[in-house]
Symmetry: C2
Subunit: 422 residues, 2 copies
């Protein structure tokens, strides 16, 4: 079955398995209109993880029971965490995307992409690839290994070897590429299929189709009262959060969120008034989408990248930048930037108050929410889902270790001192 | 409500919040007999994660909707992974415990322990502590932070600072202790409560009560057909796997599995004939329980510890060693040891065939299963749940990185070469 692709911008459609519209903008996979017209939360299946939304995904139902890793994508917790409310200035619900096999939301898109390739839905391809040096590389390699598909990972020439070790464990083919990263990213989309390789880059139709499910899960939790801790009363749970805050890099995840919300609106599951605002947050050191938003620009101008602790979202020339701008504007949201000090503070707050270890690139979402409430853009009574895109387990925490040595003979005294001080 | 504790060995009961029986053996928390008599899979709630089994847990129902991190414990995937069957010699189902907030099964016991302390069920204590330098330290610190309980982490004097950083991010009090680790472990259980600190060490009643849920989830998946990939037909799903394989260190998790199976048998949910055999696997470099099992000994003799890549299960003097022996014997299982080469091979197999990154200490379970099928102890037609206790994301993978550099101008040739070779 050839999957139809649609352009959010000019409305063109095609069944050719390309990532870009003739107008130059990134494509989405179209969703089956009959599935959309009959969709509501009661129609959701009890399949594992993200596959409960199979009717809205470009796959032939749920992967087989013995599909292994595919069943581990999605189904992450949404945690109501009042301990963060004061810091954030709103009612915080954290979506813990780190609880994935490779520790990030990337597993949703990798699962969808690999399942589609294996089922022959992605054109004449029999292998996958990706241009990435972080979470996406690891995720793509893992899901390819589980599906027994060859996998090619292309990384920038200067990536530290330690960051490649986590990718190499799944045994993909890895190449460092010397040259412009953005051009490499687009080139692989152009020529990959000629060589039988579906490149599951950050904002391609297959990946964003899988990443819709982050937002579907958040909205379902509110709508069905699985998250009954929302400010609405339990008997009439809110049908959606007031806002969802994402870190933004390529714009792929943000555009997937927008697509999900459009589908929920189109199916009648969400009224127009209930559609959550999408807020997208960048690191100030590399914030081309935020700068375009502030400047009321229609498109994003590439920037020079500075160093940031949120390196995994530092994309100076985001391929779905214009689409991310449209997502924020269409939903009444915004794109903003936060500096490394704010990111570090939010990361620490997540760990010490909510017990959540997230990577710096994920902490930008909470830092962004704080900025939004400070500005008065988001209210204290708003229920806000903060998407913690990736675990902090993969990187050094930078936490200061204060651990003086005591003798076993003195441990009773130490316990007494701790007991008195607590 | 004082929680009753019961000794598996001599049968004594007590409501004093102690970890050890007067006979010296570790205690379990008793489960409410009326809950047991009415329990079956239909009675399970739809609460998040491990709390669906609240009737069998020593808590007053499910934690409040705004309890944050507590809701993220449990509910991990059980993946039917045929790609591992040839290697293992049986039908493999992997329980992916790495999909927890801090990346290991320890979060189940930490969640239960912290919830019980916060609810006043653990005696006159208002803080938690633990003796650990790895997964358990991180897990306890995270759940304590989320519950706003003071936390004291005691580690051996020679632990590398890098391993403490992941603990320090949650801001517990950390002390290195010079002296015998086993004595420190027991001493904290003895005197912790005197100073208002509940030590959630590896095999204490509160922690093992939470860890029962690993086994409950595995059995429920088989019984209800949530894992319909078992060898029984879909219309009559197997009521339990034939065997469950755990890594074993202190013996706490193993004893929790045994307790869960005893409860399922007592409640009539499992017939005696359907109780899975518990196989417990150690690293050969430090295998006191396996040695005792081989020697038909009733109790475990401490050993000298050698180096092993599975360092996080290298316990030369396991406090629940005798209880683990009883668990294996009572269920018709066994305790065995595998060497580092076998562990490394199993770890690589999990990554390259199933896409699962696990720590070396978790890979021992798959290595052990291979040994059991080689011996003929487990059959090729057996459905076996292999418990992958912790993620591999926290440690260096040791994978060899082969990533030659190519020029962007040559990337088309590289794609062609990859396409031809695949």
């Amino acid at each position: 079955m050839p999957l139809e692709r649609v352009c959010y911008d000019c409305g063109s459609r095609t069944t050719t398995p390309v990532a870009r519209c003739d107008c130059g903008e990134p494509l989405w996979l179209a969703t089956d209109p009959s599935a959309l017209s009959t969709f509501d939360w009661d129609a959701v299946t009890d399949a594992p993880g993200m596959w409960r939304y199979a009717p809205l995904l470009p796959v032939d139902g749920v992967p087989a029971d013995d599909a292994g890793l595919l069943h581990a994508a999605g189904g992450t917790p949404l945690l109501r965490t009042p301990a963060l409310d004061d810091f954030a200035g709103a009612r915080v619900h954290v979506k813990v995307e780190g609880e994935h096999p490779t520790g990030s939301f990337k597993d949703r898109g990798s699962a969808l992409g690999v399942a589609a390739v294996a089922a022959g839905h992605a054109g004449d391809v029999s292998a996958v690839g990706t241009v990435s040096h972080g979470n996406m590389a690891m995720s793509t390699a893992a899901f390819a290994a589980a599906a027994d598909l060859p996998c090619l990972v292309l990384v920038p020439a200067d990536v530290p070897e330690a960051r490649l070790e986590v990718v190499a464990q799944f045994d993909p083919t890895v190449r460092r590429v010397a040259g412009d990263y953005g051009r490499l990213y687009e080139r692989t989309l152009d020529v990959g299929p000629d060589h039988g390789v579906a490149f599951l880059n950050s904002d391609v139709p297959l990946r964003t189709a899988g990443q819709k499910t982050t937002t579907l899960e958040i909205c379902e939790a509110f709508a069905t009262g699985a998250d009954t801790a929302s400010s609405a009363t339990a008997s009439t749970p809110a049908s959606a959060p007031d806002a969802i805050v994402f870190p933004v890099s390529s714009g792929g995840h943000a555009s997937a969120a927008w697509k999900a919300l459009r589908e929920l609106r189109e199916s009648g599951v969400l009224d127009a008034a209930d559609v959550p605002s999408l807020y997208l947050v960048q690191a100030a050191a590399c914030a081309p989408i935020a700068e375009a938003f502030e400047a009321d620009a229609e498109d994003v101008t590439p920037v020079e990248e500075d160093e940031t602790i949120a390196y995994s979202i530092a994309n100076p020339d985001p391929p779905s930048g214009k689409r991310a701008l449209a997502a924020a504007r269409d939903t009444g949201g915004a794109v903003l930037a936060v500096d490394d000090d704010a990111i570090r503070t939010a990361q620490r707050e997540l760990a010490t108050e909510a017990g959540l270890s997230v990577e710096a690139a994920s902490a930008v979402a909470l830092a962004g929410l704080q900025e939004l409430t400070t500005r008065g853009t988001v209210d204290a009574s708003d229920d806000v889902a903060v998407v913690a895109t990736g675990t902090g387990l993969k990187e050094a925490t930078g936490a200061t270790v204060e651990a003086p040595t005591v003798d076993l003979a003195d441990v009773d005294d130490e316990l007494a001192a701790f007991g008195d001080a607590k």
